[in-house]
């Protein structure tokens, strides 16, 4: 009964979202406020309906109702009870339901927010969001119904990929999916403003920026948790492999990073109106590309968890929205004239533009590498692989350039700087970068690429801290105590200083990535119980194994006693688990993590008989990468926290102070 109620709710939700789209579009063309209100409430009603459908699916999982096809395919009696509560988004159609409910929640919040703030844009944006919802629900109702029943009820389900039965699954896939679909919100607001002929005044910018940053931070956390999961759970010692699905999650992140920067230029200077539309269209297209590649896309990947034949439906929808958005853009492009003007190439707005272009270049090159195997196969019938070494080589230098711009861009003032002024501004950061280089050279870091990369990081950190120190000192001279001066400095311009906090965290991330990719040490050891070995400062002894049997898996732990120099680090246990039903083995590294380096042991060939082979890694500074995650979130929240409306950028000019 409950399952049938869920099925009905799903159909009603589809009808409600189709109605919401139609009522919003017709309502706005007939200027009927009744229709607009009813369309809005129809959109609101999708959320409770989807809650019913989701509750029904979760209920089916928790009660092991294998008459539901999706439950039978993605659960079994051996699945721990706790996981049955969240397993519903592990497969294809269930994850569609998850995406739909997350999106409907965001849409309700967004529409409630823009209804008053953007009265003209709101109906169009509501209509676009309703169309996206209608697509997701249509796919579910007609092609992949998660609540469909089976004719013959199996005694037990097939269970899910054991790699997904893990705490990491609670957070990484749902956040990643939420991040991808959330890009639709700023997209709807932007295109809605364009349709309402409001693209040329900047009233949509605050809401667009808010949702752009929400989307950006969800994507960021989703990506970082994915890396963290790969590093700590999947146990191969790395955290990023430029796998097609990783790339397809990275591309929208790159586009949204460009967007959250360039939208500031429109907010402060009334420029880049067309450009922001283009970027958000690219961002949404890339987010859909991500969903497409993840759902039965054309390229093989380690992430093929939610594989299905539905990829092409997503591709079709992506093409439809892309063509539609571009058509609207061309149709309305004459409403997007800039108010402000570019006064000099030596200004913050032009660095923002350059940064945008570089981000989109990385996104494009990543896309190119990801789909190149298809071209190659079509062109000369040989299958080639485009993997990690390729991406490191082609994207590495551009990413480094972006880090450099991150250091220099914010130092330049809005509008224009003279050459001598600009030189004066970058003097201290440059010195900081050079000093970093000298120090590192003195202690023996000689690989040129690593050295240049670290110097760039040093430059950026110096630039940011220098500005904080100068600002605090200036306020102190005005009579404030140092801590007060510092706090007031930060909260006087939250978008700016929140951005700086995020930039510092990005440097932590970059430093960790650079150190671990240039100076990681990896070595394999064949060992039997009682053997000892040494890597670097670490010595370790294989002291024995521990075995545990579970309903669905066999777990074998290898136990090590580990010393660093003379100090005892304790017992470390590396795990290999075997899932006979899936013929899959998974490993989990034992990690001793410090800010300086991680000592990492993972079994690579390990069963109960004979010598085992262990892989030992010393990964420098990986700790900093994970530590940067919370700081990025905090910095973003700080940048978004409301305080007061920012005055438009002010600079002294010949005619005295001029307000733009």
């Amino acid at each position: 009964m409950i399952v049938e109620a869920g099925q009905i709710a799903l159909v009603l939700a589809l009808m409600a979202s189709v109605y919401a789209a139609a009522a919003s579009i017709i309502g706005v063309s007939r200027r009927s406020s009744e229709l607009l209100v009813s369309g809005r409430y129809a959109l609101y009603s999708v959320l409770p309906l989807l809650l019913v459908a989701t509750a029904a699916l979760v209920y089916a999982f928790v009660t092991n109702d294998f008459s539901v096809k999706y439950v039978a395919e993605n659960s079994n009696l051996a699945m721990p009870q706790a996981y049955t509560w969240v397993a519903f988004y592990a497969g294809n159609s269930g994850s569609m339901l998850y995406i739909a409910i997350v999106f409907s929640l965001m849409a309700v919040i967004a529409v409630a927010g823009i209804r008053k703030a953007l009265p003209y844009t709101s109906p169009y944006a509501t209509g676009i969001m309703a169309l996206v919802l209608a697509f997701l629900l249509g796919v579910m109702v007609f092609l992949a119904n998660p609540l469909a029943r089976l004719a013959i009820v199996p005694p037990d389900g097939q269970g899910i990929n054991p790699l997904l039965v893990h705490f990491g699954m609670f957070i990484h896939p749902p956040l990643q999916m939420a991040g991808l679909v959330s890009v639709a919100i700023p997209f709807s607001i932007a295109i809605g403003a364009l349709l309402a002929n409001r693209g040329g005044n900047d009233e949509w910018v605050d809401q667009g920026r808010l949702w752009g940053m929400v989307s950006w931070v969800i994507l960021t956390v989703g990506l970082m948790l994915g890396s963290w999961w790969a590093y700590t759970i999947l146990g191969w010692g790395g955290y990023w492999a430029w796998d097609p699905v990783e790339n397809s999650a990275l591309m929208p992140w790159l586009a949204m990073t460009a967007f959250v920067h360039s939208i500031m230029v429109q907010k402060r200077r009334g420029m880049f109106r067309m450009w922001n539309m283009i970027i958000i269209i690219i961002g949404f297209t890339m987010a859909q590309m991500g969903m497409f590649i993840n759902r039965g896309g054309p390229v093989p990947s380690v992430h093929s968890f939610a594989q299905s034949t539905m990829g092409w439906v997503f591709l079709a929808f992506m093409i439809v929205t892309l063509v539609g958005a571009v058509a609207v853009f061309i149709w309305k492009s004459d409403t997007l004239r800039s108010r402000g003007q570019l006064e000099s190439a030596l200004s913050r707005e032009s660095v923002f533009l350059a940064q945008n272009v570089l981000f989109l270049t990385v996104a494009f090159v990543t896309l190119w590498g990801t789909i190149f195997p298809i071209f190659s196969e079509a062109a000369n019938d040989t299958v080639v692989t485009v993997g990690q070494p390729f991406f490191n080589r082609v994207n590495g230098p551009v990413l480094l350039l972006i880090v450099l711009m991150m250091g220099l861009g914010p130092l330049l003032p809005w509008r224009r700087a003279t050459v001598s002024h600009a030189l004066r501004l970058v003097r201290v950061p440059l010195a900081g970068g050079l000093l970093t280089g000298v120090v590192l050279l003195a202690i023996g870091i000689t690989r040129p690429v690593a050295l240049i990369a670290f110097m760039t990081c040093g430059l950026v950190v110096t630039g940011i801290l220098y500005e904080w120190v100068r600002g605090t000192l200036a306020r102190h001279r005005g009579g404030e105590e140092y801590p007060v001066a510092f706090m007031r400095l930060l909260s006087a311009n939250r978008p700016r200083y929140g951005g700086y906090i995020v930039h510092l965290a990005i440097i932590m991330l970059a430093a960790g990535a650079i150190a671990s990719s240039f100076y990681s040490v990896q070595r394999d050891f064949a060992m039997t119980t009682g053997d000892s070995a040494t890597v670097g400062d670490y010595s370790f002894t294989f002291i024995g194994t521990r075995h545990a049997t579970f309903a669905d898996r066999q777990e074998d732990y290898a136990r090590f006693e580990v010393f660093k120099g003379d100090s005892y680090l304790g017992i470390m246990e590396a795990l290999r688990a075997e899932y006979p039903a899936f013929r899959i083995a998974s490993t989990q590294g034992a990690i001793h993590s410090t800010p300086i380096e991680d000592f990492y042991i993972v079994p690579s060939e390990f069963d109960r008989e004979g010598p085992a082979i262990f892989r030992v890694l010393i990964n420098p500074m990986v700790w900093w990468m994970w530590a940067s995650g919370p700081i990025i979130v905090l910095g973003t929240l700080f940048a978004l926290s409301p305080r007061r409306r920012l005055a438009p950028a002010v600079v002294p000019s010949r005619a005295g102070t001029v307000r733009a």
């Binding site: 590498g369 870091i445 120190v469």
Partner: protein, 186 residues
């Protein structure tokens, strides 16, 4: 003055902590003393794809074929083969897709050519856009200045005319005009 130093010190400390962590990390690691041949094996493993596990290198994969391929790499290196020879050997066995990077010949050269070309085009497009935006801004400013100058001529002619009868109205008109022409941003 102590507090000034404190603020500076906090900043300096952060940079130094990062640098020190870097330094210690890289120092310990470069002394780890992994034999040359193992370093080469690791590097090679990372550039070879596991033929049966989508998206993973043989360095990454726990698949039995990968384990076998890793030992092939180790053995061949032990026999003194070059990296090139080992890669060719594996390509002969498993096809060109066993390499993580596309070959630099024939159609596949495109994979390598497009990224730098895209970067160059992006930079050129950026420079042209910046130039164009500045030129249009410049043109607009010039147009405004011309209007202001024309108006200036007009005002001075009025002034000349008015100077002859030396009235107060002339001064007030001049002031009003001067003010309204002063702001190019409007």
């Amino acid at each position: 003055m102590d507090t000034v130093k404190n603020v500076l010190n906090i900043g300096l400390l952060t940079v130094l902590t990062l640098a020190a962590a870097l330094a210690t990390a890289c120092l310990t690691v470069s002394e780890a003393g992994v034999p040359d041949i193992e370093q080469r094996a690791t590097a090679l493993n990372k550039s070879i794809m596991c033929p049966v596990c989508p998206g993973e290198s043989i360095d990454q994969s726990q698949n039995s074929l990968s384990i076998q391929m890793r030992s092939i790499v180790r053995d061949k290196l032990g026999e003194g083969w070059t990296d090139r020879q080992i890669k060719d050997f594996l390509v002969e066995r498993y096809g060109p897709s066993v390499l993580m990077e596309p070959p630099t010949s024939g159609f596949n050269l495109a994979a390598w050519v497009v990224p730098p070309v895209a970067f160059a085009l992006a930079v050129v497009a950026l420079l042209l856009t910046l130039k164009w935006m500045r030129m249009s801004a410049e043109a607009e400013r010039q147009a405004e200045e011309e209007t202001a100058r024309d108006r200036g001529d007009y005002v001075s002619r009025i002034e000349d005319a008015l100077n002859s009868d030396d009235s107060d109205e002339a001064t007030s008109e001049r002031r009003a005009d001067g003010l309204s022409g002063g702001n190019p941003q409007q």
